[in-house]
C-alpha cells in the first residue's frame, strides 16, 4: 500500500521535469519504473530524481524485505532443525548483496535511511544464519555420530546423554 503511494509520488516528479526538458524524454521510454535507474543514462545531464540536493530520492527496493526476513530468521531459527532460519537468512543475504551494490553504484538515487535499514537487516540475517546454522550443524553431528536411531529413539538418547554427563 505504502509502496504504491511512494510510486505515485515519484511518478509525479519526473513528469514535471520532462515538461521542462522536452528534448529528454527518458521517463517516457521507461514506463516500467525505477529498475532503470540502477543503470543511469550517461547522456542524460539531469538525473531523473534530481540526484541529491532537494531531489526526490527513493528507498532501496529490497531494504524492507531484507529487514523483515532478517528478523524472522531468528524467530524461526529453531523450526525444523534450523532449516527455516538458514533459508530465510540466505535469501536475505542474497537480496541485500544485490541492493548494496546498487546503492554503492549510485548513491544519489537512494535514501540513506533505507540503506541503514538494509545494513541492519544484513546484520540480523548474518546473526540468524549463524545461530540456525549452528543448530543445523548440531543436528547433523548428532545424527552422524550417534546414528539416526539414537536421534529418533527417545529413551536411548536420554540414556546416552545421562552417560555423557
Amino acid at each position: 500500500m505504502s509502496e504504491e503511494q511512494e510510486g505515485q509520488a515519484q511518478n509525479s516528479q519526473p513528469s514535471q521535469e520532462n515538461s521542462q526538458n522536452p528534448q529528454n524524454p527518458q521517463w517516457q521510454q521507461n514506463p516500467q519504473g525505477y529498475q532503470n535507474f540502477s543503470q543511469p543514462n550517461p547522456n542524460n545531464p539531469y538525473p531523473p530524481y534530481g540526484g541529491g540536493f532537494g531531489g526526490m530520492q527513493m528507498a532501496l527496493p529490497n531494504a524492507t524485505i531484507v529487514l523483515v526476513l532478517g528478523i524472522l530468521s531468528i524467530v524461526a531459527c529453531c523450526c525444523f532443525y534450523g532449516l527455516v532460519g538458514v533459508v530465510l537468512g540466505v535469501v536475505a543475504l542474497i537480496l541485500s548483496k544485490k541492493d548494496k551494490e546498487n546503492y554503492l553504484a549510485n548513491m544519489n538515487y537512494y535514501t540513506l535511511s533505507s540503506y541503514k535499514n538494509l545494513n541492519a537487516g544484513r546484520v540480523c540475517a548474518i546473526i540468524g544464519l549463524i545461530l540456525s546454522g549452528l543448530i543445523l550443524l548440531l543436528c547433523i553431528v548428532f545424527a552422524i555420530f550417534f546414528g539416526f536411531n539414537t536421534l529418533t529413539d527417545e529413551e536411548t538418547l536420554k540414556q546416552f546423554l545421562r552417560e555423557l554427563q
Partner: protein
C-alpha cells in the same frame, strides 16, 4: 489493511479467553522435541507467548526469557518501517543482538541445570 489490527484487538478483548484457549490447544509441536524428547533452543516460545496473552509475565519469562525482547523487536521494527525513526536501524541491530544473547544464554543455562531431559 487498517482493519486487521482492530479485528484482532476486538477478538482478543471480546472472546479473549476463547482465542487463548484455541491457541493453547493448537500449539505447533517441535519436531526436534517430538523425536528426541530434548528441548531445542526455540522450545517454550509458544507456551511463553500464551502465558503472556494471559497476562502472566513472570510465567512467560520462566518458560522462555527471550519472548519479551523478540516481541519488542518485532513491534519496534513495524513502527520503524512505518515512521522511520532517526536511529531506528541501529536500535534494531542492538535489540536483535540482545535477543540472540538471551536465547543462547538461556539455552546454555537449561543445559547446565539439566532442564532439557
Amino acid at each position: 489493511m487498517k482493519g486487521i489490527p482492530v479485528v484482532f484487538f476486538l477478538l482478543l478483548v471480546g472472546g479473549g479467553s476463547g482465542v487463548i484457549h484455541w491457541l493453547e490447544n493448537h500449539l505447533l509441536s517441535c519436531p526436534f522435541k517430538k523425536w528426541t524428547g530434548v528441548d531445542c533452543p526455540g522450545c517454550g516460545l509458544q507456551r511463553s507467548f500464551v502465558a503472556l496473552l494471559k497476562g502472566d509475565v513472570w510465567m512467560s519469562f520462566k518458560l522462555y526469557p527471550a519472548t519479551l525482547p523478540i516481541l519488542a523487536l518485532c513491534i519496534f521494527t513495524i513502527l520503524h518501517l512505518k515512521f522511520d525513526f532517526k536511529n531506528g536501524a541501529f536500535l534494531i541491530k542492538l535489540m536483535y543482538i540482545f535477543a540472540t544473547v538471551i536465547i543462547v544464554t538461556s539455552y546454555i543455562y537449561k543445559i547446565y541445570h539439566h532442564q532439557l531431559f
